[in-house]
């Protein structure tokens, strides 16, 4: 059945074509989704929503002068989420036919009824006004209309500069990625939301090796670069080739650099590393599903339990952190989340106090919050939406990055993530960066290699006494894993440079 072709329904229900269709045909197309919802209600659902989507995902990599990866991924499918007997069910398929939509709707209800066998408390949803809306990522140049040759040339040019900096550079990479997701959300409450999200970006990486020692430098960040909701213009703005010389040279210089000392000192973290620090130690623990124990079996829970809301000092007064799905260019920016809640900005930490959670309609109702924070997202139409970060941003204060450096008598500056780990309640973390510098009397004294630092989340953020403004920007993290079955989500983090007093550094010697 899944292998057969049903051209009429395929034509009617391709989300791609939905955008192009007008009048009668479009109404017919929407009809099928409604039929799916009606079928779910008929089978016993008290609530149902359906998401149909199509994703184009292009990966290009040039490695050591050759195209290692020229890949295009096309995904199309749908998922139906239902509530029946106060419990949840979800079923999905790639087969966009009338018969399959009806079957999947009935299957979702059957699953929900099975879920009800262990029900202790019925699931409820925070009330929300059903929207009929459209949203598209603002962009100037459609990356999928840029010739492949042009994209490959940009990568090859940058990679070639990296490689020629030294024979010690044994591996050199240039990366490009572009993703386009078109999706339609409809619910039995009357929501009908069409969205087109575009994001992309890229980066370069040089790996220098000498006598079995490996050092690496990336630009603009590790994990294949930096990414934003945007068109091709964002990739162009990265100007990879212009930065390749410096990146290559630093990778080689690191081989001869001093090791990071093992000590407790003042630590300055630049935005590309601070983004991941925010992600792991504030983003994940403020997800309300974690705090309510819903991720206890896998990623873990959170030290930010509901009894601590508005009572716990998370950090110093310099620490203001928001979840903001509206910021232009953020990798977690959209119009509506995957249960139809409009994008919004909420405070998670205000002047150091823990004041808010990222939530869904169900978890918001559970904690009697005013509304969902709009954080329900799925990585494909065939996956169940979970509470995911949008853009978790550390708001700037009045410092300039250079002033933070000049104001530091003795310390270490760390840049660009290399390794990461944090415990299952998000308290004890340890990060390594690609490069560091010893700071003495307000200036960079010397480069150091293998820098690492560790801490306990509220103590660490409590020691934050400077946050810069002038280098504040959005960093995109396209590889945030969560959930069982696992999903990979794209999220953003806005930040500049920050200083943390008396931090333990140098964990590997």
């Amino acid at each position: 059945m899944f292998l057969t072709t049903a051209p009429i329904y395929t034509l009617l229900n391709s989300i791609d074509r939905l955008y192009a269709l007008k009048g009668e045909k479009r109404r017919m197309s929407l009809d099928l989704e409604r039929k799916g919802l009606d079928e779910a209600i008929k089978a016993g659902a008290s609530y149902a929503d359906i998401r149909i989507g199509e994703i184009l995902d292009e990966h290009l990599t040039v490695k050591n002068g050759v195209p290692e990866e020229v890949n295009l991924l096309q995904t199309k499918g749908f998922g139906i989420r239902v509530m029946a007997k106060g419990a949840w069910g979800f079923a999905a398929s790639i087969d966009l036919t009338n018969k399959e939509v009806m079957e999947i709707a009935r299957k979702a209800v059957a699953i929900a009824k099975a879920s009800a066998k262990t029900k202790k408390k019925a699931a409820t949803l925070k009330k929300a006004s059903a929207k009929k809306a459209k949203y598209s990522t603002p962009m100037k140049k459609d990356p999928f209309k840029i010739p492949l040759e042009e994209k490959m040339r940009a990568l090859t040019d940058a990679e070639r500069i990296l490689a020629k900096q030294s024979p010690l550079i044994k591996v050199s990479y240039a990366f490009f990625r572009s993703l386009q997701e078109k999706k339609l959300f409809m619910s039995t409450e009357g929501a009908e939301i069409q969205q087109q999200i575009n994001w992309g970006g890229g980066g370069i990486l040089a790996v220098a090796i000498k006598n079995g020692e490996v050092q690496r430098r990336s630009y603009p960040s590790s994990f294949r670069g930096n990414f934003a909701t945007s068109g091709y213009e964002f990739f162009e703005s990265l100007k990879l080739a212009q930065h390749a010389k410096q990146v290559g040279k630093e990778a080689v210089q690191l081989l001869e650099a001093e090791k990071c000392p093992s000590t407790t000192t003042d630590l300055i973290i630049t935005g590309d590393q601070l983004a991941l620090q925010i992600h792991e130690s504030c983003g994940h623990p403020t997800e309300l599903d974690r705090a309510l124990g819903m991720e206890a079996d896998y990623a873990g829970t959170s030290f930010l339990t509901p009894d601590k809301l508005s009572k716990l000092r998370y950090g110093s007064k310099n620490v203001n952190i928001v979840a903001d799905a509206t910021v232009r260019g953020g990798l977690g920016t959209f119009g509506y989340d995957d249960e139809g809640t409009p994008a919004k900005k909420i405070y998670l930490v205000n002047e150091g106090m823990f004041v808010g959670y990222q939530s869904s309609r169900e978890t918001a109702a559970s904690l009697k919050l005013k509304e969902s924070s709009g954080g329900m997202r799925a990585d494909s139409p065939m996956a169940l939406p979970l509470i995911r970060m949008t853009n978790i941003n550390l708001l700037p204060s009045d410092w300039k990055a250079e002033e933070v450096l000049k104001d530091t008598r003795e310390g270490i500056l760390m840049q660009t993530n290399r390794s990461w780990s944090i415990d299952d309640r998000r308290l004890n973390f340890q990060f390594g960066t690609e490069i560091g510098w010893k700071i003495k009397n307000g200036s960079r004294e010397k480069m150091i290699k293998n820098p690492t630092y560790t801490g306990i989340t509220p103590e660490f953020w409590g020691s934050c006494d400077a946050v810069s403004k002038d280098d504040w920007m959005m960093w995109g993290t396209p590889n945030c894993g969560k959930g069982v079955p696992g999903q990979v989500m794209y999220v953003g983090h806005g930040c500049g440079t920050a200083r943390f007093r008396k931090t333990k550094v140098g964990l590997i010697q």
Binding site: Q74, G79, W88, A92, D424, I508
Partner: protein, 457 residues
């Protein structure tokens, strides 16, 4: 039979692509049917099922290689995809390292790795088993506050065909039950977890899994803070599996090896680990779950000796056709990832097994004067691949061993250590191999593991 139909699609895709005058073409077609019932706070909160499938097409023109993956099995979509992948190949710069897609080789299916009952498991059956798991935990102790976990049933199938005559397929079933129990007493929370994996649903025993998790959870209440430093450790199979999974990931892929980023490259022929350590990669071993006879390129999977009596060698390295083509005289060992895992990435061992010895966990504890028992590691990540330095934390049951007995729970600890050091002295290896998802492993005792930090719980 799903695989027969998948092979038809693969062969048809190859023929469609050849019409575009490409030199070589490969199609890997896959279908997965997965269901997972997840529970938390002692009730099911997520319950999902999905059918996914698609085609991964590789088109070759000279040394130009283009790849396209569509998550669809519709004829029209596949036909469009063959046109598109050829366009991609035409405008892709040549890859001088590319030699050829693999030639066909003789292979034989592995019997008994697909269980129809597992593949066709119903949501009601999973819900009943989950209810058993929850009820068992709650009935074991009044201190149990919440039960969480997941119960999955899956079937995975793929077929590969290429224009040189490769024609291969594989189909397996898999199921797993994982349970985490949270207990509470006077403001302290205790955590315990256990899991079971099999390819047959009849093997899953929620009572056993839940009982073990509950016992660990209750015993974990009121953990004590201990000084960080080096400790002798007794690792459960689950904890040991994490270390070997990462070792396999960072060490034995030809990509890492050829790039100079694998510890194996700098330790060829050296006894870098304890001589009792024996690690192999073998899809035909009954304990490995992903028992595919062929890889994602349709090449028969070769049994690999990754670590032999503590030594690594160039023979330990896992290749696909691309990495093999970069070395004179080398042939693919059949380690291209199957299409169910996504795009072809680097070749990897994914049927890693650790050989057992003769000890029991009780004996390991009895012969430890001062040490730590680890149930599970959390969020392990490589810090430095050529030195095999890993960091991560303990979780769900960490206990102090004093004078041959487990005496008290301890707060979770962070380890940061080179596996070249930690696995150098392994005084005891368990006699029972436990299937822990990717890595069937026995328990083992390490002479020392370096702990660099401690949590607050």
């Amino acid at each position: 039979m799903v695989t027969k139909r998948l092979l038809e699609v693969a062969e048809k895709t190859v023929q469609l692509a050849l019409k575009h005058k490409v030199d070589q073409v490969q199609a890997a077609v896959f279908f997965t049917d997965s269901a997972l019932t997840r529970y938390a706070n002692s009730q099911i909160h997520q319950n999902v099922a999905s059918k996914k499938g698609g085609v991964l097409i590789k088109a070759v023109i000279g040394k130009k290689v283009g790849t396209l993956r569509i998550n669809s099995l519709e004829d029209k979509q596949i036909e469009d995809a063959t046109t598109k992948v050829v366009k991609i190949a035409k405008v892709t710069p040549p890859n001088k390292d590319f030699k050829s897609l693999p030639e066909p080789s003789k292979w034989t299916p592995i019997k008994g790795v697909f269980d129809k009952k597992t593949a066709e498991c119903t949501p009601d059956f999973r819900a009943e088993k989950v209810k058993d798991a929850i009820d068992t935990a709650l009935s074991k102790s009044r201190l149990v506050k919440a039960v969480a976990g997941s119960f999955s049933t899956d079937s995975f199938a793929f077929a590969v065909a290429n224009s040189l005559g490769v024609s291969a397929w594989a189909e397996i079933s898999a199921t797993s039950l994982q349970t985490t129990v949270i207990s509470q007493s006077k403001g302290s929370l205790g955590y315990g977890s256990a899991e079971q994996h099999s390819r047959r649903i009849k093997d899953i025993d929620p009572l056993k899994v839940s009982s073990e998790a509950t016992e660990k959870s209750v015993k974990s209440l009121n953990p004590k803070k201990i000084p960080i430093g080096e400790y002798t450790v007794v690792l459960s199979p689950r904890a040991a599996a994490t270390l070997f999974m990462f070792l396999g990931y960072i060490g034995f892929s030809a990509t890492s090896y050829q790039d100079g980023q694998s510890f194996v490259k700098y330790n060829l022929g050296k006894k870098v680990f304890d001589e009792k350590l024996d690690l192999k990669d073998d899809p035909k071993d009954a304990k490995t779950l992903y028992s595919f006879p062929v890889d994602g390129e349709g090449v028969p999977k070769k049994k690999m000796q990754l670590i032999e009596k503590g030594k690594v060698s160039a023979k330990s390295i896992c290749h696909d056709s691309f990495t093999a083509g970069k070395e004179k005289g080398m042939k693919s060992t059949g380690h291209a990832l199957p299409p169910i895992f996504g795009f072809y990435g680097r070749p990897m061992p994914f049927n890693v097994l650790v050989a057992s010895e003769s000890s029991s966990v009780e004996e390991m504890v009895q012969e430890t004067k001062h040490g730590i028992f680890v149930t599970r590691f959390h969020y392990t990540n490589p810090v430095e691949p050529t030195k095999a330095i890993l960091t991560g934390l303990t979780r769900d049951g960490t206990f102090l061993i004093e004078k041959g007995e487990i005496t008290k729970p301890v707060m979770n600890l962070r380890y940061t250590d080179s596996m070249l050091s930690a696995l150098k002295a392994i005084p005891m290896i368990g006699k029972e191999v436990e299937i822990v998802e990717e890595i069937p492993t026995p328990a083992m005792k390490l002479e020392k593991l370096r702990f660099t930090g401690i949590t607050q719980y």
